[in-house]
């Protein structure tokens, strides 16, 4: 795989009062890879991806996406450049239909409303529930809908924040198949606690601890890294 860099963060920093949530992080994403972000609770993973997608303003450092500096770009403009984010806590539009939820993503990128929405629902297996009110879906289906909304944006980079949290094993398998289908057209950055999913899916892994990068490498490298083991066992 030719390593073309899609996203590059340099010396990224964000403190909350005295808490160094993200502290001088250097980070690179290669185009088309599945990259996992792991680390103990409170390591700054969600803050870090929030900086990447613009939900939290950057304190210092730079972010480049697809060759352009996006450090100061507001979140909605980053989405338009192709960075999609799915929320850790499911945030579908609970009072709207499943169709409308996905249609909101499709119409944003100027897709064919009916055809593309149905196709996006088909891809995740929610086509037969298009008319249902999203808030009445089961928890697992809401997680899937959340991912479908991200995918329907047709992003260059899809950031998934703990996508398998609370899913049953069968649903996790469907999820893994889905992620494998979208690469290499879409690059995937994944925050994940389930190590089986991480080791199975990710081509590269970055470990965060106390807001700093502890290690980056292939699943094999990370598994063998003593510092990572210490952080996890000690954390």
């Amino acid at each position: 795989m030719a390593a073309v860099t899609l996203l590059e963060a340099r010396d990224l920093t964000r403190h909350f009062g005295g808490l160094k949530a993200v502290n001088g992080v250097d980070f690179e994403l290669a185009e088309g890879e599945i990259h996992a972000l792991i680390g103990p609770n409170g390591a700054g993973k969600t803050t870090f991806v929030s900086l990447l997608c613009g939900r939290i303003p950057v304190q210092s450092g730079t972010i480049r996406f697809d060759g352009a500096d996006i450090t100061r770009l507001p979140a909605h403009k980053r989405v338009r450049r192709g960075i999609a984010y799915t929320f850790q806590i499911t945030q579908v539009f609970a009072n709207l239909s499943v169709f409308d939820n996905v249609a909101l993503a499709v119409q944003r990128r100027g897709g064919r409303l009916d055809v593309d929405t149905r196709a996006a629902l088909d891809r995740v297996g929610l086509a037969d529930r298009a008319g249902q009110i999203a808030g009445t879906l089961s928890y697992g289906h809401q997680r899937v809908l959340e991912i479908a909304m991200g995918l329907a944006l047709d992003p260059r980079l899809l950031i998934l924040d703990e996508p398998t949290q609370g899913l049953a094993n069968a649903e996790i398998d469907i999820f893994k198949t889905l992620v494998r289908q979208v690469v290499p057209d879409t690059t995937v950055l994944l925050i994940e606690h389930n190590m089986d999913v991480v080791m199975d899916l990710a081509q590269r892994i970055t470990v965060l601890n106390f807001g700093e990068v502890l290690a980056t490498g292939t699943p094999g490298d990370i598994r063998a890294n003593p510092a990572v083991q210490a952080a996890y066992l000690g954390g």
Partner: protein
């Protein structure tokens, strides 16, 4: 019948019933319903901001007043004919909404309510301050000769009713189309979850500003029409009470329903009309209605009907 046909059929039937009122209603009620249709147009605009986009403004009287005075002052002091004055009123409502929105939309929730309230209060006081032009609380009575539209005398019962109907019908059709369009879907998405909408690539500030301007155009149109149809332009019509009334009508009829503002304005108008027979304190009815609505029927009449029976109601 497809869903779309059913929805249009219902709304066109309501419009047909109102049009029939022009020949069926006795004069007294014809004047009342004409007034209700103008006020319901105002409420429809309010509903676009509040019911669909989730912007609870307490300052819409400023936009209504901009239309009222925009048209009224031009007719009175510049001798403009009714048609161009109406257009000027509409634009004044939209422009005022844009100016207020640019600032007020930097805030949210309770702060947004207070900021809009304060801007509207400043507008109301400005009207009182410029007595030479506006004649303050006393207001301006627009002469009959100035109230001619396409050769029809707007001070006569039938032309007035038909003009009010035309305004309301245009407002209703545009609103029905708008809320079922992709733009309307984004407005509703902003109401439901602003952060999620942002992460789908929508700019909340720009979208809310657009909704507020559309809302202001409606309010301006209603204000201008009110002045031209009923011949009175007074400061009380731009007071805080006229910011509260559309909120009340929309809450009563059902926030986020297309026909709710009409249902709310019509029922409230006649409730006050009947109650005035045995109490002078007509605002008591408004107050009690507001409290009872938020306590027991926060979805309003059509909102409850939609929740229980007609799920397809837009």
């Amino acid at each position: 019948m497809t869903l779309s046909t059913r929805i249009w059929a219902l709304h066109l039937a309501v419009l047909a019933a109102l049009l029939a009122g022009s020949v069926l209603l006795p004069a007294y009620h014809q004047t009342n319903v004409a007034k209700v249709m103008v006020l319901a147009t105002y409420a429809m605009g309010y509903n676009i901001a509040f019911g669909y986009t989730g912007l609870l403004s307490l300052g819409h009287a400023l936009f209504f007043g901009a239309g009222l005075y925009g048209a009224g002052l031009l007719v009175q002091h510049a001798g403009l004919p009714a048609g161009p004055a109406l257009l000027a009123g509409i634009l004044a409502g939209g422009a005022m909404a844009a100016a207020v929105g640019l600032l007020a939309l930097r805030t949210q929730g309770v702060a947004f309510m207070i900021v809009t309230l304060m801007f509207a209060q400043a507008g109301y006081l400005t009207i009182l301050y410029n007595t030479a032009w506006t004649r303050g609380e006393e207001g301006i009575v627009i002469a009959r000769e100035a109230r001619m539209l396409f050769g029809h005398d707007l001070s006569a019962d039938l032309p007035r009713y038909l003009a009010a109907f035309a305004l309301f019908a245009a407002g209703l059709v545009v609103k029905l189309w708008l809320v079922r369009s992709p733009t309307g879907r984004v407005m509703i998405a902003l109401r439901e979850n602003e952060e999620r909408s942002r992460m789908l690539g929508y700019d909340p500030y720009a979208r809310k500003l657009a909704a507020l301007v559309i809302s202001g155009l409606y309010a301006g149109a209603a204000g201008a029409a009110y002045g031209l149809l009923f011949g009175y332009v007074g400061a009380s019509l731009a007071s805080t009470q006229y910011s509260i009334l559309p909120l009340l009508w929309v809450l009563l009829g059902g926030a986020g329903t297309v026909l709710g503002p009409l249902v709310g304005a019509l029922s409230m108008f006649y409730l006050i009309d009947y109650s005035s027979a045995f109490t002078t304190a007509s605002l008591l009815v408004v107050g009690v209605a507001l409290v009872l609505l938020v306590l027991f029927a926060p979805r309003g009449i059509l909102g409850t009907i939609r929740e229980r029976w007609l799920k397809w109601l837009p």
